[in-house]
């Protein structure tokens, strides 16, 4: 009881301290009257053909910041993300090799048919979010997160053996994930490699032509802005996120006996 009183008092103090800091102007004018200078330059440059050595060829400023202006940040964020998935896969390393003993018949016919339609809708929305990431809000991460809901629901509705029957194996998903990551890394250095091969100047993470480099990804395709690297990075990220999440979900939904067998260990592991 005393513990709870102490906690509550501490938290009231935290809330009051934060409010006082805000009152003193810790966040600047509230509500903000105008956007910051750096935001103005991003918005000005992102689709400004008049300054085409600094533009990102994408009318969507957020994606342009994520994959172009601050692209290196996002690359290392991707590394952290895949590190975490890799850690989860390592903890379950033995589970993937064992055949799952659970044989479920899934849910009723009504749910199964509905799920088949819903799966199509989920995948369509996901693909649209990922492929239009450089035009409208969205992108590879968001599309991937939406798409990975589909396998999760499929496992619950149709049973775990669906993936075995359809030959969607652990190794195939892992290969897809690694191939997407490889292509993602390659598209960030593609212009640098091309530049080295043809003896021209190219940069890491180069999207459009710069002041000293004429190399450029295509800015338009069939009259629609393509955003250069943004489109390719979004697509590869979409594939990588989808396959990575599907991997972890299939492992997390393994039957208890299989996981316990892996976790029983050799000694008292307290």
């Amino acid at each position: 009881m005393l513990r709870d009183i102490i906690f509550v008092t501490l938290l009231i103090i935290i809330a009051l301290a934060l409010s006082y800091l805000t009152y003193l102007g810790g966040l600047g004018d509230l509500p903000p009257q105008d956007i910051r200078l750096i935001a103005r330059s991003y918005l000005n440059l992102t689709y400004n053909q008049g300054v085409n050595w600094l533009w990102a060829a994408s009318p969507e400023a957020v994606t342009a910041i994520v994959w172009d202006y601050r692209g290196l940040d996002t690359l290392f964020e991707t590394v952290v993300f895949y590190g975490a998935i890799l850690a989860a896969l390592t903890v379950f390393r033995g589970v993937s090799k064992l055949p799952d003993r659970i044989v479920s018949v899934g849910l009723s016919v009504v749910v199964k048919r509905t799920m088949a339609i819903v799966t199509l809708a989920i995948l369509t929305v996901a693909a649209s979010t990922a492929l239009h990431g450089h035009l409208t809000p969205g992108g590879g991460f968001q599309g991937g997160a939406i798409a990975s809901v589909a396998p999760l629901l499929l496992i619950v509705v149709f049973g775990k053996q669906l993936f075995v029957e359809k030959k969607v194996s652990y190794n195939k998903l892992l290969t897809l994930r690694n191939a997407s990551l490889g292509l993602l890394s390659l598209s960030t250095v593609a212009l640098l490699i091309y530049g080295l091969a043809t003896n021209e100047i190219g940069y890491i993470f180069q999207n459009q032509a710069k002041a000293l480099s004429t190399l450029s990804y295509p800015s338009h395709m069939l009259d629609v802005p393509l955003g250069g690297t943004l489109f390719f990075l979004n697509v590869f990220e979409f594939l990588a996120v989808t396959s990575g999440f599907t991997l972890v979900f299939t492992l997390l939904l393994s039957s208890e006996e299989v996981i316990l067998k892996e976790f029983e260990g050799e000694e008292y592991g307290y």
Binding site: F7, A15, L18, P31, L43, N48, V91, T136, L252
Partner: protein
């Protein structure tokens, strides 16, 4: 709509986010159930994300046309871009939040795996009980 009302609602939102922050922090620290801790942590993440997006907000004023807040012309003239910069909110916090959401998702997945592991190992997700088990085990070892 009155501008004073808009300002009041903004301050109210900021305060409610601080309150949410405090409550979820309480959940993370004080709850003994690991799953409840995890849920509180995800709500804490979302609170911070909403707060970050809120910082990029731009105050509506009477006479300011904010719609649409996006670039709709695919061959924009300098005037259209200038207009767009005047309408749009700050995109940088949104880009940061995107990063934070992805990292948060990865952390949540990893923590879920660990909680599952703990549950299989100790048959409970109550941290007090797990602590008691460990104390008993060390005591038995010593005796």
């Amino acid at each position: 709509m009155d501008i004073e009302l808009v300002k009041f609602m903004f301050i109210l939102t900021v305060m409610s986010l601080y309150l949410n922050f405090a409550i979820t922090l309480y959940g993370v620290v004080a709850k003994v159930n690991l799953v409840k801790k995890l849920i509180a942590l995800t709500i804490l993440q979302d609170t911070v994300n909403v707060f970050t997006v809120l910082i990029g907000y731009r105050l509506w004023r009477p006479g300011l046309i904010l719609q649409p807040p996006a670039l709709t012309d695919m061959n924009p003239t300098p005037e259209i871009i200038k207009d767009f910069v005047e309408r749009s909110v700050d995109p940088l916090p949104q880009a940061f939040v995107l990063t934070a959401i992805v990292i948060g998702l990865a952390v949540t997945l990893f923590l879920t795996t660990i909680v599952l592991h703990v549950n299989y190992h100790f048959k409970t997700v109550n941290v007090d009980e797990i602590g008691g088990m460990k104390r008993r085990y060390i005591h038995e070892e010593a005796v």
